[in-house]
Symmetry: C2
Subunit: 389 residues, 2 copies
């Protein structure tokens, strides 16, 4: 099978895996319809636009995208796929008789591909219904997912790059906490209370300055840390856990990184200290276990057992989430590191993020990122794990 | 029908329209499965998370969302829907025998709803296939779309709010251009060339400082302006069109605004001056025509005709895009202001953005936002339309 031209370097160099999947399932083509906010589309098309468009691939042919006239010049210069306009694909003619937009899009697609069509799991039902009279649709729940889960060198370089920026941003945020002063239990910097918002602003600003966008960055403190995804607000306090969890996306590459640290300005209470030590050990234990062939479920269960042996539960308190997740063009993507996690494969990029959460006490979480290898885990995160700052 | 409790104020107060749609189509419930990055989910659930979750609504019952244990506390405090955990919905039991994640999610859903189920057009095909043996799925192509297209007061206030921030950000960007100095045709500020990147950074930074995130802001100059969605890069030039198009999202509300201005540092060439005058007049003409009952197609066609009468085409050059678009939780959403645009309704929030693009000459675009009313158009944009700065 031919190798498709890879302009960006960020697409899988195993693109012919898609051809293989098409042929293996007895299909004639693979079709997507989505905006490139959907990672499958960004991955296969290499084109970025906020409006939905059509991607299709026939075995041994170059990928083709169908975009609006106004996106044509940009698509030609940015996408590795061949580009057609909707007009070239016959949409203007179709719309003269077909007013339903889903049916019109379906006709435009069947002008290009017939027979059996492989589509991803998130393919829109309305378009599937409009297509089903003229073609056979097969849902691909494995091929594209496996392709995206194994990163090539360029993709790993892109994730390492955003992780480097993430660490410098987190360093900036933690240094604000470190350099703050305490007055009546509240942290102060520059004569004003040091708030969650101020730390997040410094972090997000640094990320933006480096071409990355962070949504929903977490800088939570005290009671709030017992709620894992609480974003945090208001003045930060001394002797309390402060959870910083950021997962920026590099706007150019589309790839994410993700990291979490828990710090405390001044020594926190004994319970938090104990939880922190156990979470550190749990992370080290999990990282040592990761390698190709081990399942995400096993690694997760190891940590569940380890926590239980140390008196920490995993019910509605304690270790309430999965140990980690794959990461790439989505912040959470396969492989899973939780009860349903299957065998890890070299090239998977994953995070390892054990955490413990107890209302009334607080929460502690640590998260590192790296690649699964044949023999272990190549950690990208180079950041210290110091609790007291 | 009962009124559902509206905590956020940003959800439609016509929520019972959903009940009406369910009953009218003979269905028993409305079901969504998506992350809240998908606007339908954000709209109906009022909850923000990056992982997919289940939303369902039975007529005369409160909406319910099914989230993971770790999101439970946050969902209870943030969503107006009632909250169940996946464990409460039986997922732990289901996963003991059902390993396929789509089938497991389908079983969890059918534990809660049976019979006929209404779903949105983008409902994932894999989940539809997993559900179809036990329930009847009906695709709703009209109800939710119409609900979202008509904004209530709180939603209009949210959009006006992000538009205010957008204008102050654009003002900042344009003032950098205005205060720059020219050396050999290049704009300079602070001793360095004033680049597209520097202007975008100032704009995006200001937006972030006000809780808004801008993706893909456009600051393009000269030749690049002839490509409508070219993001722009490098030094800005004097006597050339500079297109600034920004469409930030308010992180708290989830609502977008969108605006475009074209400016030139020093007088541009005669062709650009002429194009600018015609685009201004086209925008004024279109805005005068907008009111409830007029179709988006009519307004678009008026501008096409107006351009043609002034010697400008709408083929692969000239006016190459739609006149405008609805806007809300998505930057582009119904109603359309293009060839397929249907009747406008009071409460639609739309943009009016005529533009002309000629390679070798450049591009000009102006975009304002406002609400359709019974008698006209309530313009939110208060920004001047001065070309030469």
């Amino acid at each position: 099978m031919i190798k498709v031209l890879d302009v960006s370097g960020l697409r899988s160099d195993r693109m012919d895996a898609l051809d293989y999947a098409i042929i293996k399932s007895g299909a004639d083509a693979y079709v997507l319809y989505a905006s490139s906010d959907e990672a499958d589309m960004r991955y296969l098309s290499g084109f970025k636009t906020s409006d939905p468009f059509v991607y299709f691939k026939k075995p041994n042919h170059r990928s083709i995208i169908i975009v609006s006239q106004m996106e044509h010049a940009r698509a030609v210069s940015e996408s590795h796929a061949a580009v057609m306009t909707k007009a070239q694909a016959g949409l203007v003619e179709i719309l003269k008789t077909e007013k339903d937009p889903w049916k019109a899009t379906a006709k435009m697609i069947t002008n290009q591909v017939q027979g059996r069509i492989l589509v991803p799991p998130k393919f829109p039902l309305a378009l599937a219904r409009a297509l089903q009279d003229s073609v056979d649709l097969i849902v691909d729940t494995t091929c594209l997912e496996s392709m995206r889960a194994v990163k090539n060198r360029a993709q790993i370089a892109a994730i390492k790059n955003v992780q480097r920026v993430t660490e410098s941003a987190l360093d900036l945020g933690i240094s604000l906490i470190r350099r703050s002063t305490e007055r009546k239990g509240i942290l102060f910097a520059g004569g004003k209370p040091l708030t969650s918002e101020r730390v997040k602003f410094a972090i997000n600003n640094h990320l933006m300055d480096h071409g990355c966008i962070a949504k929903d960055s977490i800088v939570s403190c005290g009671e709030d840390t017992a709620i894992p995804h609480c974003l945090g607000s208001g003045a930060l306090k001394a002797h309390q856990p402060i959870v910083l969890d950021i997962f920026p996306k590099d706007e150019r590459s589309g790839y994410f990184s993700d990291m979490t640290r828990t710090v405390s300005k001044g020594k926190p209470g004994a319970k938090v200290l104990e939880m922190y030590a156990v979470v550190c050990d749990a992370q080290t234990l999990a990282i040592r276990q990761v390698r190709e062939g081990v399942s995400g479920a096993e690694v997760h269960q190891t940590v569940v057992d380890f926590f239980r042996d140390h008196g920490y539960d995993n019910t509605t308190t304690g270790f309430v989430h999965s140990l980690g997740h794959g990461i790439g063009l989505e912040v959470h993507e396969p492989p899973a590191l939780g009860p349903s996690g299957k065998g890890l494969v070299a090239g998977n990029v994953i995070t390892i993020e054990p955490g413990l959460y107890y209302p009334g006490v607080g929460g502690v979480r640590l998260e590192d990122i790296g690649a699964v290898t044949k023999k272990g885990f190549s950690r990208f995160t180079k950041f210290p794990r110091d609790l007291v700052v």
